[in-house]
């Protein structure tokens, strides 16, 4: 059984032509990069894989379960327990500290509180000294690291990252991608990263190229 299976999937946004997405079969622990120009459907593919957006057509299975077969509540619960997401805009909860963001994600993933693990993640990613800082007071690079730490804190089977290096220079892009892959490897999670950044494409096991968007 593959970790991710995607068959005959396409999506239509209102007023736009149907956007076909490639069939995928991604194994446990596999590291895949999805590249393509803007508008080619990279973010849409990631949202469909995360169960955040129901596709207009086709079937998407993650860890053996079709998202479409679940109720809204079950889909949200299962996402928390199987998928870690690094959003392009980080989407950290601004009212609580970096460490609390990790604690929250871990709790919603159904795991008991483990401050040692959370602090270890922050330490491993080089921002332990920022554990009690509010997300609004982080630099973009620091927020990106915090978002990665939060995504892996729930010990997901699948880690999805949307353009994680879009605002970084070459050196930092490679460093952040390295951290992402390292954390995923440490927890045995499969990784799918979307990017149009050719600098990091070579760091993955496999590349999926999306065509020009509509």
């Amino acid at each position: 059984m593959h970790l991710v299976e995607c068959q005959d999937v396409s999506h239509s946004f209102p007023g736009a032509p149907e956007l076909p997405l490639p069939d995928l079969a991604i194994g446990t622990g596999e590291r895949v990069v999805v590249t393509g120009p803007s508008g080619s459907g990279k973010t849409t593919l990631l949202q469909i894989l995360a169960g955040l957006l129901p596709p207009t057509r086709g079937e998407v299975r993650v860890a053996g379960v079709d998202w479409a077969s679940l109720t809204r509540n079950d889909r949200d619960r299962r996402r928390g327990r199987t998928v870690g997401i690094v959003f392009q805009s980080f989407n950290l909860i601004t009212a609580i500290s970096v460490l609390d963001n990790l604690r929250l994600a871990r709790r919603l993933a159904g795991h008991p509180q483990d401050d040692e693990l959370c602090r270890g993640l922050l330490d491993g990613i080089g921002i332990l000294d920022l554990a009690h800082r509010a997300p609004a007071r982080l630099s973009r690079g620091e927020a990106q690291r915090a978002a990665i730490a939060r995504a892996v804190s729930g010990e997901p089977k699948l880690l999805l990252a949307d353009e994680p290096t879009s605002a970084l220079d070459a050196g930092n892009a490679a460093s952040v991608t390295g951290l992402l892959l390292e954390r995923a490897a440490a927890s045995g999670a499969g990784v799918i990263v979307t990017t149009h950044d050719e600098r990091i494409a070579g760091m993955f096991d496999r590349r999926v190229q999306l065509g020009c968007g509509p």
């Binding site: 949200d76 928390g80 989407n91 909860i93 009212a95 609390d100 919603l108 993933a109």
Partner: protein
């Protein structure tokens, strides 16, 4: 990290908005709670006095004024009645209790009442310290009067002529405090009580001549029983009857065949309610409009604040939060704000009544207190909580209908 702790974090993140919503709600709840409590106390106070005194006998003039001045101690007495005429009623077989009341002097903002020991019994008053008066120029102070005048047992003080402040003094330190009453929650708390003889002597009325055994025995013996005298006067006589029928028989007789008139507190207070009804209705209408305005303001402000949570609700769902979890965050935030605002409002409303009761002597004399809750305030509390819950309902509904991917993509 749970929905409640996250709700607290959201409130702490926007301290100014949190403070403004809390204050907005507190002002609305405070005003309405003060109105409700005032209305309730006003009615209760008047009705309680009406229950303990069946008939007031006083000088000819306004019956309402007689009740207000002699029973509630909130108006000026119109005049006096001859003691020898009033004293006849002390022994009347239909009368179960008779309390003579002689007004006209003050200590600061507090009225001096010349009376008998029966007054204490009727008011349900007990001595917190010292003893009752036992002769002329001895006084027992109500709890509030003693506290605000700073007087204790064995202290001496002077009275001034007139009901209210600013009258000429009756000599220097002519009275001695023999006792201080425990708080009664009634008008006795703000009175300075002494014997009738003290009032007579201060006003240079003829010295008492002989004892009236029956009256003295009926009215508490030596401590309280006034001695009969020929031309002394009192302000009013407060009567309680064995039966309403005997009162209905006696009252017209007094009105027709004496220089005195009678007033029934129940009737006069009923008349007062009728006179005040339009004003109280306007006050209640004002309260209702205020409450609706406050509810609307809190609803829109709280809804706007909770709308800001749409993005975070989407993030929480993306992280695995189920519907009850996200709803819990919004409801907890709304309830914490509403509870804080409502409790602060009750504190402000009752605090304001307590201040008014202490600062305005008439309000204090009427027994206005900050510690009395009106039954309507329970509904006010529920209405405020409901406003909070409904305010959370709109953003909740929107969040449940919003597309997760679109909300996340907007940010």
């Amino acid at each position: 990290m749970n929905p409640v702790s996250l709700a607290f974090a959201y409130l702490a993140e926007r301290p100014l908005a949190t403070l403004l919503i809390t204050l907005l709600l507190a002002l609305g709840v405070g005003t309405i709670s003060a109105l409700l409590s005032f209305d309730h106390q006003f009615r209760e106070r008047l009705l309680r006095e009406a229950r303990t005194v069946h008939l007031v006998v006083g000088s000819k003039g306004s019956r309402l004024q007689l009740v207000l001045s002699s029973v509630l101690h909130v108006d000026y007495p119109a005049g006096n009645i001859p003691w020898n005429e009033a004293a006849l009623l002390l022994d009347h077989p239909a009368v179960s209790r008779a309390i003579p009341v002689s007004l006209g002097d003050s200590v600061g903002a507090f009225r001096v009442v010349g009376t008998t020991g029966v007054f204490l019994e009727a008011a349900g008053a007990h001595l917190a310290s010292g003893r009752a008066w036992d002769g002329t120029f001895e006084a027992v102070l109500g709890a509030t009067a003693a506290r605000e005048l700073g007087l204790e047992v064995d202290d001496v003080f002077a009275t001034t002529h007139g009901v209210g402040t600013g009258g000429p003094e009756h000599g220097h330190d002519n009275y001695t405090v023999t006792g201080v009453l425990a708080p009664t929650g009634g008008v006795a708390d703000r009175l300075v009580l002494t014997s009738l003889e003290s009032i007579w002597e201060v006003h240079d009325q003829p010295t008492p001549t002989a004892g009236n055994g029956d009256a003295a025995a009926r009215n508490g013996g030596n401590t309280a029983g006034p001695r009969a005298r020929q031309d002394a006067e009192i302000t009013a006589l407060l009567l309680t009857f064995h039966s309403p029928v005997s009162m209905l028989r006696l009252a017209p007789e007094i009105d027709r065949h004496s220089a005195m008139i009678t007033a029934s507190p129940a009737v006069e207070i009923g008349r007062l309610f009728a006179l005040l009804a339009p004003a109280l209705d306007v006050l209640r209408g004002f309260g209702a409009v205020l409450m609706a305005g406050a509810a609307l303001a809190v609803f829109t402000t709280l809804t706007a604040a909770l709308e800001l949570r749409q993005r975070d609700i989407a993030i929480l769902r993306a992280l695995g939060a189920v519907r009850t979890w996200t709803a819990g965050v919004l409801l907890a935030e709304a309830l914490i704000l509403t509870l804080a605002g409502t409790l602060l409002g009750f504190a402000l409303g009752h605090g304001a009544l307590a201040v008014i009761g202490n600062v305005i002597p008439e309000a204090g004399n009427a027994g206005l207190s900050g510690l009395v809750a009106a039954p309507g305030e329970a509904w006010l509390f529920l209405a405020a909580l409901l406003t909070g819950l409904v305010s959370a309902g709109v953003p909740l509904l929107r969040a449940s209908r919003a597309s997760l991917s679109e909300t996340l993509a907007r940010n």
